[in-house]
């Protein structure tokens, strides 16, 4: 068999992407397309008193101004079961159905016009008056409420405990007790969210930016009270998402509503500013981590408490306190999770939701504990290595974290790190080394693949999956080609259409383990059917022709077995970082990052590496740049653009070294893969924070770490 899996082949969709031929949601052109612009609320809480659309309606080219007074009533049926990407309690925003305002940026009218310029211009002419009510715009730990039963059922309880953590902490020889926080962060994928809706009678086609087209179909069917079979959702390319395209957002419903209203296809494309309110974000979270340890470094107690923000209309909870339960061995662990309801749009998953921020707190606390113990930070991690998942009380399906530590620390030159903070210099630069552990639970879901071989020898593989950038098109083509014993050029992998077999959400690092195994299963089935015809020395095409067959089809579903009853699964990583701080200016630069990852079997090391360097860049942003400048008086994000909400630019990224530890987790799934997207982000920000301390001697526990915290340090 030809070895294609594991080869660093180039992306199969590369030519389309470098020539501008890859088509993203806003770029479809149904005949007679009309353009929409949203009018959004400027108050955080209250009711619309009057909404005057006269001037807007009189603008040339304007087809309709739709408000809560003129929009059709939509049923908004409750789904049989809420998808895991949605808040498990509360009610989604019902678009243009009532005058109630719950956050700044809430869509309150939509203008549809012949051109985008006409729609945008008319949107500025809609005059709205409000009855203002007192909003909640501040996150305070004392206002935190436990998560609901619905979330507890979904695996995110308000409280967990094993052993007696408080007692053990009280008795511990060495203690660390820290408070830390991170900012409200926005996904800011380069492609703004966009939806084009087109009706044909009672059939609806949506061209949407989505990580889960099947879920969009279900959501819109419920919102409009129509059969799922009458809805088709198409999303072949997604210009980045990082979780922002998991849910079905209000503007998708608005596009469908507006298109039905004007009897024309309608495009809704969010402005960059609207991308801060019309979709979700990573919620600001306040955390406390208390660690107790013996003198030799053995952890005796972990207490992790987190308070995050959610909206007033939906309860969105994260797995922030999960890493504290699984990363290290410890007999006594207590966690507590609270939510503060605020007048904001609802947060949503953003790359490694919860885990990355929980890891941030835990790994900063571990660094402080190492210092208190006089231990090397890496040594402290090794002394508390978790040989099993002590929360689930199961062995790991695989765990190569020790190898990650070894490889990464060796390549980084960790042994050169001096023990004392502020003791390494290069001219006026203070140098700091820091490290952190990364962990992200492994998961997989059911996926169905349809594989067809045609008599010309070409194969088409289809499923309603997504590729927001990690390379689904490419890696699945590799798996299919290798399984069928064909060159990659013979295989077309298609995705992003609800007409295709069902696929799970493209998030949570589950695509490879879910879709990949289904591709393998379907191709094995197809190969079996071909082999059943006869010998294949002349190739499948000749074989089919000899039987007069135009095509052979195979469809297979792959789904989790009982492995999760026997094993716990996680991807692991070790991240080592060098920072440089100019003490006069307080700005932190990151010249070097080394990350080693145990992600199971790696299908394509070239694109896997890209995913990891991308995660590191995201981590640099999280540690040093990203923050929504939230005005508590106004209840709004003031820096809602790319000039003032800072993400790293090319000049911020220097030397990135990514290593994969060989792995093959067949206890988890037949392909032996784990997940990669989230683990690549986890660990970067705490490693940077720890390195900043090592460089400067100043502990900064509230991220991002900006010159404010370090100038004159």
């Amino acid at each position: 068999m030809n070895a294609i899996i594991g080869q660093p082949v180039s992306r199969v969709d590369g030519p389309a992407k470098v020539t501008g031929q890859a088509v993203y949601a806003a770029e479809f052109r149904p005949h007679n397309l009309a353009y929409a612009a949203l009018v959004t609320s400027s108050i955080p809480r209250g009711r619309i008193s009057t909404i005057d659309s006269m001037a807007a309606e009189q603008e040339p080219g304007v087809l309709a101004v739709i408000t809560h007074e003129t929009a059709e009533r939509l049923p908004y049926n409750e789904p049989k079961q809420r998808p895991v990407v949605d808040p498990q309690s509360g009610d989604q925003l019902r678009v243009l159905q009532s005058p109630e305002i719950m956050f700044v940026g809430q869509p309150i009218a939509v203008i549809v016009a012949d051109t985008q310029q006409q729609a945008d211009g008319a949107a500025r002419l809609v005059r709205v008056t409000y009855m203002v009510e007192e909003p909640t715009t501040v996150i305070e730990i004392s206002d935190g409420k436990p998560t609901s039963d619905a979330w507890a059922k979904a695996g995110r309880p308000a409280h967990t405990e094993r052993g007696d953590a408080d007692k053990a902490f009280g008795l511990a020889s060495v203690k660390i007790d820290i408070n830390c926080s991170h900012a409200r962060e926005h996904h800011n994928a380069m492609e703004p969210h966009a939806t084009i809706a087109e009706w044909d009678g009672d059939h609806l086609t949506l061209y949407d930016k989505s990580q889960w087209v099947d879920n969009v179909r279900i959501a819109i069917a419920n919102i409009f009270g129509m059969p799922e079979s009458n809805i088709r959702v198409i999303s072949p390319f997604v210009g980045g998402a990082f979780g922002s395209a998991l849910r079905t957002w209000p503007h998708v419903a608005i596009a469908a509503l507006a298109a039905r209203h004007v009897h024309r296809p309608v495009r809704v494309e969010l402005t960059r500013r609207q991308c801060y309110t019309a979709i979700g974000f990573r919620p600001r979270t306040l955390q406390r981590v208390a660690l107790g340890a013996e003198r030799d470094g053995a952890l005796t107690a972990i207490i992790h408490e987190a308070t995050a923000q959610t909206s007033t209309y939906e309860e969105y909870a994260e797995t922030t306190v999960e890493p504290a339960q699984t990363t290290y061995t410890c007999p006594n662990v207590r966690t507590r999770y609270r939510l503060v309801e605020m007048n904001t749009n609802t947060p949503c998953p953003m790359r490694a939701p919860g885990v990355v921020t929980g890891t941030l707190a835990l790994e900063m606390a571990m660094d402080e504990l190492a210092e208190a113990l006089g231990l090397d930070p890496l040594e402290l991690r090794l002394r508390n290595y978790a040989e099993r998942d002590e929360a689930a009380n199961l062995p790991w399906s695989s765990k190569e974290l020790r190898a990650c530590y070894e490889i990464a620390s060796e390549r980084f030159g960790w042994h050169r790190r001096s023990r004392q903070p502020r003791s390494m210099r290069d001219g006026r630069w203070l140098i700091g080394y820091g490290m952190a552990t990364a962990i992200y639970h492994g998961d997989r879901s059911a996926c169905t693949i349809h594989a067809t071989m045609f008599a010309n020898g070409s194969v088409v593989i289809r499923t309603a999956a997504s590729d927001m950038g990690p390379g689904t098109y490419t890696s699945m083509t590799q798996i299919a080609a290798e399984t069928l014993g064909l060159p990659m050029e013979s295989v077309d992998f298609e995705l992003g259409d609800t007409e295709m077999p069902k696929a799970p959400v493209h998030g949570g690092s589950i695509t490879m383990a879910s879709v990949g195994n289904a591709v393998q299963a379907a191709c094995e089935l197809l190969r079996g059917k071909l082999h059943a015809l006869g010998t294949t020395t002349d190739g499948y095409a000749a074989l089919m022709r000899s039987y007069g067959l135009d095509r052979i089809d195979a469809e297979a579903e792959s789904k989790p077995g009982d492995e999760s009853n026997k094993y716990a699964t996680a991807a692991f990583g070790a991240v080592f970082v060098e920072v440089r701080v100019d003490p006069g200016f307080g700005a932190v630069r990151v010249p070097r990052v080394v990350g080693a990852y145990d992600a199971g079997r790696v299908i394509n090391p070239k694109i896997a590496r890209s995913q990891c360097i991308g995660g590191i860049v995201g981590g640099i942003g999280m540690a040093l740049h990203e923050t929504a400048e939230w005005d508590e008086r106004l209840g709004r994000v003031m820096n809602a653009n790319f000039a003032e909400y800072l993400i790293p630019v090319n000049a911020d990224v220097v030397d990135l070294d990514v290593q994969f530890v060989p792995g093959n987790d067949t206890a988890f799934n037949p392909l032996g893969v784990k997940g990669l997207a989230e683990i690549a982000l986890c660990g970067v920000a705490p490693a940077i924070a720890n390195a900043v301390y090592h460089a400067t001697g100043t502990r900064v526990r509230d991220l991002p770490i900006r010159p404010e915290a370090l100038v004159g340090s």
Binding site: E59, G121, R273, F585, A587, E629, R633, A643, P707, V711
Partner: protein, 327 residues
């Protein structure tokens, strides 16, 4: 954007006449700030008058100095060898301005007139005195880390965001100002106004006046000039604080000194106290430190801008050390 008309002009008289006919008209040249202001509805002109056809292009050199046409693109100024050699602070400031794409589009005149990045000015749905006189200043107690610590008033603390103006000030640059009726000259230093209680009036230009050119005189201090820009990320960001210095040192003694700072003032901010501390002294580490201490005199920082005080001191000190050949 609200609807607007568009027209071109080829002469200054023409431009002024057009503006007189339509008082809510505005000039557009490079468009790099104008388009942002239009997209976000910060401004809503009736007519855009495209002045790219005016004869204000190019860089010319004489015995006294260099003249930069106001429509010259920033990238072309940066690339000019005389500028690099004779006015290094300008070349450096431009290299650190915006992005290569923006520098290919933005003009010298337009760069001087760019509007503040104050978050409340740029969000057209919140009160701002600069955008709507009398509306109130939301930045006073708001998210204002990028706002000014010098020259503010109860009505406005918006920082002047540019880099080039700071460099031009330490180079003693002058502007040629044209209108339908002729020409006048002003110092670049006199172009911008402090907000007072009229923050929407940002310069001393009359409505129909246009900047035609920047004049840079050769000088010993211009040749020893430096720009230092501090940002959160390594590139493509406005300054938290920037320092422009030009120092003439003869026989070990400072004979002329010009010092200005960006990111800290409601207008490009000259620091005469610092200059005085340098004059007739040797530029050594001790003098640089003492002079830099004077840079924050009179500053009025908010909790969100407090960090700019040490940042400014350190930036000025570092830039002076560069000028003294000590860095």
């Amino acid at each position: 954007m609200l609807p607007f008309a568009y027209t071109t002009v080829s002469g200054t008289t023409n431009a002024a006449a057009l503006l007189a006919q339509a008082p809510e008209a505005m000039f557009i040249a490079g468009g790099t700030d104008m388009l942002q202001l239009l997209q976000e509805s910060v401004i809503a002109p009736s007519v855009l008058i495209d002045i790219n056809g005016l004869p204000f292009h190019g860089i010319t050199e004489s015995d006294e100095g260099v003249r930069i046409g106001a429509l010259t693109r920033l990238a072309d100024i940066m690339a000019n060898e005389t500028i690099k050699r004779q006015f290094p602070v300008l070349g450096r400031a431009l290299q650190e301005t915006a992005s290569p794409q923006v520098r290919n589009m933005a003009t010298a005149g337009g760069n001087l007139l760019q509007r503040t990045r104050c978050l409340y000015f740029r969000d057209a749905t919140v009160p701002c005195n600069k955008r709507e006189p009398g509306a109130g200043c939301s930045a006073q107690d708001g998210q204002n880390r990028m706002n000014a610590i010098f020259g503010g008033s109860p009505d406005c603390i918006a920082a002047y965001p540019g880099d080039m103006a700071n460099a031009l000030i330490v180079l003693d640059a002058e502007l040629e100002i044209r209108s339908g009726n002729g020409e006048r000259r002003i110092k670049v230093e006199d172009l911008h106004r402090e907000p007072g209680n009229t923050p929407h009036i940002e310069t001393c230009l009359r409505p129909e006046e246009i900047i035609a050119a920047i004049r840079l005189p050769f000088s010993a201090h211009a040749r020893n000039s430096h720009y230092l820009k501090l940002r959160d990320r390594a590139s493509f960001e406005w300054a938290l604080v920037s320092a422009a210095v030009a120092v003439e040192i003869t026989d070990g003694t400072v004979r002329a000194a010009r010092v200005a700072a960006g990111g800290v003032g409601t207008r490009p901010w000259r620091l005469p106290d610092v200059e005085r501390m340098l004059l007739d002294r040797p530029l050594n580490e001790a003098v640089a430190l003492t002079a830099a201490e004077a840079s924050i005199r009179g500053a009025d920082a908010r909790p969100g801008t407090q960090f700019k005080l040490p940042l400014l001191r350190h930036a000025i000190e570092r830039a002076l050390l560069m000028a003294g050949g000590l860095q």
